[in-house]
């Protein structure tokens, strides 16, 4: 039971940690990609 709880809390930590770094990075990449598209217009 305790292991299951630990697994669950670790999953939440992983989602939070990856979201914390992933969301700003994806936002920045999309911004840059939309600017880069001007090369092909």
């Amino acid at each position: 039971m305790q292991t299951a709880n630990q697994d669950g809390s670790m999953k939440i930590k992983l989602i939070l940690a990856w979201g914390f770094v992933g969301i700003p990075l994806i936002w920045g990449v999309l911004e840059t990609l939309s600017n880069a598209m001007k090369l092909f217009q």
Binding site: M10, L14, A17, F20, L25, K38, L39
Partner: protein, 468 residues
């Protein structure tokens, strides 16, 4: 210093049940912040009109003087990584990340004071010196920890962190522009306030990384992983002490491998916008050229992860062989793309070149680990960063000088880059030879006895090296 004991290595040892996949985001928290350095140029023009506001006043700073801020930061990055590498390695990743956050965030706050006082020396001290220390410490702080957590995929692990450094400008650039717009008034440019906000935000972001990071418990290894029973030729099972490593020919060969790979890429990256417009006059506009630069940055970032991960499969030496062989062919092809007027082929050549430029940065920590072991890999990596500093000066100077020489001798602008491309190809051939010459480190450099066993098991006890 009891208050700061939570920074000690022994307080960062992972408890059972800890997932190693929490360590890459911790490393990314650091690299996504310090990579802001690539976007520092967005402040240059606004800082040339702090007094004049709409245009530069006589007392405003000159662009040439402002260029020194970035240069000082990059030089200090290399020096601090080299000098403090051993401290980072022995003190543990949390202490290094915390200090990096203090320096990098503090550097912005000192620079804000420099703006208020309109004293450029304070900004050289703040962003250049203090912030540069944060850059150096932050860059190497997660490297050896990631390698220890991912002995099965060290290239992929360090590639992920170093990808963050390449991608940080994507966040920093629009964020800085947005903040300056928010804080600007008809009588004020808003740079100082932007520095304050960035300093606080980056400090907090880096503290999250420092809080998350853990080192593996002694003897830990990934589930199902067994270290190869027979040592591979170019993957050592021993460790080399940092100051012994820099005495080996292998270190200096890798130094040149990195320096030449970076020189070839960095010179072109800085000139990409002008080059695309001059090689294809009328076809590539200024807006399209900006898009081209953005595309190069994206491939620079993606290459860091893709090539470093690939190196886990094909080996580090083969990965650098790819960089140098493919790079040489592509640089020789670039002049032809200009002569046949193919923008698509030109773009294709450079996005691949940029992916290998980024890949060179990201693959090198794992290359060092293969050659010198995991124990002092962060500190050795710190010394290797000086190759980047050297290339940062050498690359742009080389490209600018050759271009100007060609134009002064009557070569049309559209063809002024041809010689540069062949020179870059020549540099990559030299890099290929350096890489070819890399052999396993001689046994006499390996650490002996208990120290080595401790390092191999991840204990990382601070010990003096025993020489053979």
């Amino acid at each position: 210093m009891g208050m700061l004991s939570f920074l000690d290595r022994e307080h960062t040892v992972a408890e059972p049940g800890f997932s190693r996949w929490l360590v890459p985001p911790a490393a990314l928290c650091i690299h996504l912040c310090i990579g802001q350095a690539y976007a520092f140029s967005v402040f240059n023009l606004p800082m040339t009109r702090l007094i004049g506001i709409t245009k530069s006043a006589p007392d405003d700073w000159k662009l040439t003087d402002l260029g020194w801020i970035f240069s000082i930061a990059i030089v200090v990055l290399g020096l601090s990584a080299a000098i403090l590498g051993r401290w980072v390695e022995e003190g543990g990743p949390r202490r290094a990340m915390f200090t990096a956050g203090l320096c990098f965030g503090g550097g912005f706050l000192i620079s804000a004071a420099g703006i208020y006082a309109h004293n450029l020396w304070i900004i050289y001290l703040g962003y250049g010196l203090v912030g540069g220390c944060g850059l150096g410490l932050g860059y190497i702080s997660p490297v050896s920890t990631l390698i220890k957590w991912f002995p099965d995929r060290p290239g992929m692990a360090t590639g992920m962190a170093i990808m963050g450094f390449g991608g940080a400008a994507f966040i920093a650039s629009p964020l800085s522009v947005w903040l300056m717009a928010k804080f600007s008034t008809p009588t004020h440019v808003g740079v100082a306030e932007t520095f304050i906000v960035l300093g606080i935000v980056y400090f907090c972001f880096m503290m999250v990384g420092a809080a998350i990071v853990r080192v593996p418990a002694p003897g830990w290894k990934p589930e199902g992983y067994t270290a190869p029973a027979v040592a591979q030729k170019l993957i050592t099972r021993n460790d080399v002490y940092v100051y012994d490593a820099i005495k080996t020919p292998q270190f200096w060969l890798i130094w040149w491998v990195l320096c030449l790979n970076v020189t070839a890429g960095i010179g072109v990256l800085g000139q990409a916008s002008a080059m695309s417009q001059e090689m294809f006059p009328g076809k590539v506009t200024a807006v399209a050229a900006a898009g081209f630069v953005g595309l190069l940055s994206l491939f620079n970032m993606a290459g860091r992860f893709i090539w470093a991960s690939t190196s886990d499969v094909i080996g580090r030496k083969n990965t650098y062989f790819c960089f140098f062989a493919i790079g040489t062919v592509l640089y020789c092809l670039v002049p032809s793309t200009g002569s046949i007027g193919s923008v698509a082929l030109f773009v294709l050549c450079f996005v691949v070149i940029m992916s290998m430029y980024g890949g060179g940065f990201a693959t090198v920590p794992a290359y060092l680990k293969d050659m010198f072991g995991t124990r002092y890999v962060g500190a050795i990596h710190g010394w290797l960063i000086t190759a980047w500093s050297a290339a940062g000066v050498f690359g742009p100077v080389l490209v600018n000088y050759i271009r100007q020489y060609q134009i002064d001798h009557g070569v049309p602008k559209a063809q002024a880059y041809n010689t540069t491309m062949y020179v870059m190809a020549g540099l990559l051939v030299i890099g290929f030879i350096c890489n070819f010459m890399i052999k396993a480190v001689h046994d006499r450099f390996h650490m002996k006895g208990n120290e080595n066993e401790g390092a191999a098991s991840g204990m990382d006890a601070v010990a003096k090296p025993a020489r053979a």
